[in-house]
Subunit: 433 residues, 2 copies
């Protein structure tokens, strides 16, 4: 039996997946001369029981029961169902090694993109999900209605711990909530982690006293496993409420462990996604950002960056909105246009969508119009580039948010708020309609 005939055994367009099966939506481009059905069968084979030559093992009782089945083909889009036994409960690395492993290098396809997964209930329930979610963060930050506001120092790397903490004081007293480390700032010689924690906590105490508001730091603990756990402990001992992790460069195993450590230490977990675009940007190959965000919800991060939805790239907005929907709702319906599957999160808390990248006060109403109040907005240059400096930039940003929450246009609000007026003059004003 030739391998091509075997591959076709993995396709059954009349197949009805059982409720315990994991479903995947893939975009595929068969290699030259290959039919879509055979390529689809090759994907189902290689990501489950696998083979390139004869498969005498398919006679084995259990092997035939766990072979995956392609049950839908729609142009270049296919859906594949995987019996439950393909996966280990509670293990993200294992599920990725199956459905997002060798198939990316298969010769049967020139391109293949994993677009979405419908996680079966037994699998969802094997994870804890976010510890805090939006309601938990609102509670410890004492923020009732508006989005959570984070700010990264600019330039992103190079300031000493002292300079960094002083920027914190400015943006906190200007009205922002979270001072965020940049993704490539961890513990370099000019700004050691332990020193930064100490100095930031000192400035935070000062800012909290002056403003009467709660303030916190997103301290980037990204490091090899044991050292990352030490840094988390240090942050908790210093009295801060949040840690930040570069989830893609740290990887799934350490992130899963860190979720448990954060629970023990009562720390919220802020996810930065640096590296994701190495495999999410090409719309024909790799893995979608939606998949990464859904995986982060299973594991249980409290925030994740999802993009701005304001960018110039085509398709940005529907993609960002679908990610926001999938990580914030309890039940999500199928989206046939984007080839996204339905989802039931079985009570796992929502992840807070963080909008970031090129934001300034004039964009705030547009962001809030799209994401609502239950989100986080992260800004950098759009605060520090303010003509009056970082503190006035922070004031302008907070004014824009407060205006929108109160239902007042920025133009109107700016009449009585000089910092916002200056910001709108500097960067312009993007109306919501």
């Amino acid at each position: 039996m030739a391998f091509r005939e075997v591959y076709e055994k993995f396709v059954d367009l009349h197949y009805q997946p059982g409720k315990d099966e994991l479903l995947c939506s893939f975009y595929i481009e068969p290699m030259r001369g290959e039919k879509i059905a055979r390529a689809a069968g090759a994907v189902a084979a290689e990501s489950s029981v696998g083979t390139w030559t004869d498969v005498p093992g398919l006679k084995m009782a259990h092997v035939s029961r766990i072979a995956a089945t392609c049950f839908e083909i729609d142009g270049n889009w296919i859906k594949v169902a995987y019996p439950a036994d393909n996966f280990e409960a509670g293990s993200i690395p294992q599920v990725y090694s199956a459905i997002a492993g060798n198939i990316f290098g298969m010769k049967a396809v020139d391109n293949i993109r994993l677009m979405d997964v419908q996680w079966p209930a037994w699998f969802v329930k094997s994870f804890s999900g976010p510890q805090f979610g939006i309601s938990g963060v609102r509670k410890f930050m004492k923020i009732k209605k508006r989005p959570i506001l984070a700010c990264v120092p600019k330039p992103k790397v190079g300031m000493t711990s002292q300079e960094h903490a002083e920027i914190g004081y400015q943006i906190w007293t200007g009205g922002l909530d979270l001072l965020k480390d940049d993704e490539n700032l961890t513990s370099q010689p000019f700004n050691r982690f332990d020193e930064r924690v100490k100095l930031c906590m000192r400035q935070r105490a000062r800012a909290e006293k002056e403003t009467g508001e709660r303030k916190a730091c997103l301290l980037n603990i990204t490091a090899p496993g044991a050292e990352m756990r030490r840094r988390a402990k240090l942050v908790a001992d210093a009295g801060n409420e949040y840690v930040m992790v570069d989830i893609m460069t740290v990887g799934w195993s350490a992130l899963q462990e860190m979720r448990d450590v954060c629970q023990e230490l009562h720390l919220a977990l802020y996810a930065h996604r640096a590296f994701h675009a190495a495999f999410t940007r090409n719309k024909r190959h790799g893995v979608s950002m939606l998949m990464i965000a859904e995986t982060a919800r299973l594991i249980g991060v409290d925030n994740i960056h999802i993009g701005t939805a304001i960018g110039k790239l085509a398709g940005d907005k529907p993609e960002v909105l679908s990610i926001h929907e999938h990580i914030s709702k309890q039940k999500v319906t199928e989206n046939k246009k984007l080839h996204l599957l339905s989802e039931d999160w079985c009570g796992l808390k929502p992840v807070i969508s963080t909008s970031s990248g090129g934001l300034h006060p004039g964009i705030v109403p547009r962001i809030m119009h799209m994401l609502g109040n239950d989100c986080a907005i992260q800004v950098g240059g759009g605060v520090h580039g303010h003509p009056g400096g970082s503190m006035k930039g922070a004031m302008a940003f907070r004014q824009a948010v407060d205006a929108d929450v109160e239902g007042i246009s920025l133009a109107e609000y700016a009449k009585k708020h000089a910092e916002l007026a200056q910001a709108l003059e500097t960067w312009g004003y993007l109306h919501t309609k």
Copy 2:
């Protein structure tokens, strides 16, 4: 000052990088209407001190000292130098968050690929590298001259622990060294990890007694952090010498920690690369497989899959050979054709290249002609698909290797070795020239 003018400040084609700087070779495609020099400057900026608006911070003394510089532009290829302070010694997640982080999503480029890094000596020396390397593995496996031979059961997933261990007995007594778990087999209900370890060790003892040779298992411990460490301990306690990890789906942080755990437990570390092709396959975007293999050497895996170099894809062979060179030699010279940088590994042991994917006995001479004897060869269908079954398939494979080491052609050797003759009839014979 507009951001575009700022970006050009990050380019200096007369710049001579210092010996402590980390150098990167990137392929970039500027966005429509953008000049290569400005796009190159944007890459250098975003991966070091970063900005999208004015950078008053560049006046800060230290920030200007750590800004990266693009010092070479050759068509679409650029080289960027990063001052040492951009990086944290001993941290792979941090260096990736800098040089392989946000730049993949930058609008200034439509595509960007990180091709190679020249790691400065201070950075190389902050890692331990492989614990065993080829000489260490030869010693504990008692294999003098020939390549190490590994075999994965087929079908890859679905057999019970019992069936899996019995396949082990067959391929071990047939003459192979290592029984390898597949990348998506960890601890599913039908084949629990702890049970598999126990049963495989029993079959190994039997096979060692009958053959008088050393045998071992590549047990896939891939799991969330703490559970992965528990499994490693279990493997060591059972007396096995190797563990396997899906390094991409586990991630860098946990892999770095596992390297230390393996040292404590005297375990060799076998790296599977499932997921890599999500970002290595597209030659214009993402990260090269060479980068992944070099990173694995810094961290210290003992084996890594590098491909077959026999495939039909253009460019396969030079790429695979360059990976083999970079992970096995102590000093590597610049390769201008492939845009690869020179390297000095400062005494870190070599990683064993594992050739795998669609191999059978008839391909063995070609593989050994390219990679030499100091490699590992991993086979699956090319053993189990043998007309005589897995044990005879293993015999045929070992015969092919022994023949090549002795300098005898397979055709000649097959005259007195029926299993090899059958294999050559089944799959053919790929001559070395």
